[in-house]
Symmetry: C2
Subunit: 454 residues, 2 copies
């Protein structure tokens, strides 16, 4: 029951009834584009254009590069945004039938945007000029539909970007398309016993494994070199876990340091915006654009003086062999490099698993009840039974329980902060183990939820 609830924390979109798969085709001009592109202009010919521009056959094609590398090539005119975008589209044409990461993608529109960016004078280019960014399909984009994986929002368009997308656009980013999120799957009749059935999206490293949820498309597209950066959101473990399953870097800053305005809310206390990349430099690039700063650790401190806490967390018992081995390897590498590494326990106030889970459950259910009232009032019949149950408060969460949960949560956060303040870095597991086999089970968020709003 409780472990099922953790799924609930991690995936909100799967509560909607199954719609996205059917809609994917219609919202999606990729197959036609790839067919005609392949027919009219063979891929190798187009890559030859790229090769010619580079005047070298030894460099990587642009789709393989990080944002930092692409920016450098764009800056010294070795590359145009259009050629870079074509390279990504070629990669997508090659891989989409396997990975299926996109909820919406219009290649012709992408190319027209790319050409427009190429026309921007050098002195008016932003810090992300031309960089391709995929957007999780719960964030409004003024030029593409945003469906939240829900039939209620079929064909929904906003003529206003979400706050984050507007900031990226102002920085010159090429908003590429919308990335998948989980959809309503097999459900049992048991309250909250949600069996997670993911969308078709597969793990790029093994199509038989899940990329993790709920930012599955965002993680898979970046991991598969289909887009350079992507945006995701985490309420339970929806950024950190898919990043771990697909082997990319991700950043989930603390709450309210990046605005979630224009992003579908689930449980505001936990809802966090974040992003995926293939290098730490790229994460830093995005953090700078969003003004995310760590003002507590001096930037000139020698690495050896950084104190590292290894926190196995109260749920360590559930860690599989992959996670155990990763933590040991991390410890060895850091120690051998001269870091001060310390095994640190969770503070007693935040160690009781049952309390921790109950607090998260009560806050999430109370807030989700508020956040989905609109969909309930507008189209109750199109909501999955689970979410109807949340709005109808079938679990009878009282205001008093909610107030107490908020208070307990605040105490836990304070206790964790008290421990954390003595360390420069905390290392903790991102997932129970490697990505599970099958696409139905998108994995447990047990190692993520307690950090989400800490």
């Amino acid at each position: 029951m409780l472990s099922c609830f953790l799924y609930l924390l991690a995936f909100f979109s799967q509560f909607y009834t199954r719609a996205q798969l059917n809609d994917r085709e219609s919202a999606y001009s990729l197959p036609q584009f790839c067919d005609s592109a392949l027919q009219n202009q063979p891929r190798l010919d187009r890559l030859a254009v790229w090769d010619k521009q580079l005047s070298s056959n030894t460099m990587s094609p642009p789709y393989k590069l990080t944002a930092t590398q692409v920016l450098e090539l764009l800056h010294n005119n070795t590359l145009t945004v259009e050629v870079y975008a074509r390279s990504l589209l070629d990669r997508i044409c090659e891989r989409d039938s396997t990975v299926k990461a996109w909820a919406y993608l219009d290649p012709d529109y992408v190319l027209s945007q790319a050409r427009a960016l190429d026309q921007v004078p050098t002195d008016r280019r932003g810090p992300l000029h031309g960089i391709a960014i995929g957007v999780k399909d719960i964030m409004n984009t003024k030029d593409m539909p945003t469906q939240f994986g829900s039939p209620i929002y079929k064909g929904h368009r906003s003529d206003v970007d979400s706050s984050a997308v507007a900031i990226l656009r102002a920085a010159g980013a090429l908003i590429f398309g919308k990335l998948t999120l989980p959809i309503a799957g097999k459900t049992t009749t048991t309250e909250f016993a949600v069996t997670n059935s993911g969308p078709e999206t597969t793990n790029p490293h093994d199509p038989n494994r899940t990329p993790g949820g709920s930012s599955c498309g965002s993680a898979a597209a970046v991991a598969d070199l289909q887009v350079t950066l992507s945006l995701g959101a985490q309420t339970g473990g929806s950024i950190i876990r898919p990043a771990s399953f697909t082997g990319v870097y991700a950043m989930k800053p603390t709450y309210d340091v990046i605005s979630t305005e224009g992003q579908k809310a689930f449980a505001p206390t936990f809802d966090t915006f974040g992003f995926f990349a293939r290098s730490v430099e790229d994460l830093q690039l995005l953090a700078d654009v969003f003004g995310v700063q760590d003002d507590s650790t001096p930037s000139d401190i020698p690495l050896e003086e950084l104190s590292v806490a290894l926190m196995k967390t109260p749920m360590w018992d559930s860690a599989g062999p992959g996670t155990r081995s990763a933590m040991e390897t991390t410890n060895s590498i850091l120690t051998s490099e001269g870091f001060k590494v310390e095994d640190v326990s969770f503070p007693p106030e935040a160690t009781d698993l049952a309390t921790l889970k109950n607090v998260q459950k009560v806050i999430t259910l109370s807030e989700a009840r508020t956040m989905f009232l609109r969909e309930y009032r507008v189209g109750k019949e199109k909501l999955a039974p689970q979410i109807r149950g949340i709005v109808e408060n079938t679990s009878n969460v009282t205001n008093k329980q909610r107030t107490e949960a908020c208070d307990t949560y605040a105490s836990m956060r304070r206790a964790i902060n008290d421990v954390a303040k003595d360390y420069s870095i905390i290392i903790a597991p991102s997932a129970v183990d490697e990505a599970p086999l099958g696409l139905d089970d998108m994995g447990s968020a047990t190692f993520n939820t307690m950090w989400t709003a800490s």
Copy 2:
């Protein structure tokens, strides 16, 4: 300095540079409508239609009625939505040049919506069928512009309603128009020493006095019988204080019990949605539509058994004669009616004014910095210097200060909850005194801020 900060908490829109007054005319088809209406169909003639429908000259014209009363007349077919809407528009034509509460109003569109509502079959009518509701101009409406009082959002339209507006529309409400909020006014060069210059909106009881901010239009329009219900938002004291200044009822529920999705964010920890009405029954009507419930006090408890706490709060010293007298009168009435009334002090953890104000300041500045980054990146030159200063963090708020403020705030909230749990009702001042003279000073939020997120 600190008292100025409280203004900052209460009004966010005035940070934008002065734009709304100039835009008001163009966004506004009311003058033409009133002119032509008066020319083509004299007001008295149209009221005669209404009088005829009622077959009585003794009843109040519809614009004077509460929502509960209008619903009854609509239900028994004594009134149509169109006649009711015409009555409100007549009232507005008569009073708008004095009160100036509307940021956007299209009377012809209102009437077409009213006629459409009259066509809805009886068995498909919602709980607010036909009730006119004005919307504060920081909440998205799919059929009207939303300008947030900012030149950055001039002519801004969203094709999606805010969550609250969608819920009201689904309940059958007649979304009437957009109500004013403060605009950028005279500012000094002192950081955060914002002198609040309100919009033209006046207090219906005395055009020389402010209606209070920031939900000034929302309070004034309801108080002046121009619309039956209205929506507002409070970050500092932006609902409770204007309700007090204009003498109407208002409800600011606790945070996250009504979704603020689609409403401009300022400081999410404090941002709250709420509403204005002219009767307690009407507040209950709206609370029901939004699913706001008090599940802690049994509804069948005899009134005399309710325990009432009279809380003068730590800022009682600033209370003027009006507020002092109101608190005394309240005490006498309740006591003479047999209620158990007790003078209750704030808990020691929440009594230190300097700490209280600092906590609010740090949280608000940190969060506003995040929330206005978008506007800063998109159109820095159109932002008032104060808000640019917040985004540039000219007051040097650190992450550590923010974390500590969140922790202190959580402790204060817990301490207040501990005291509050022993009482059924807490009565506290809504404002320092009656509405101040002049439109520039929209009043202090000192009595509101500490309750906003408690």
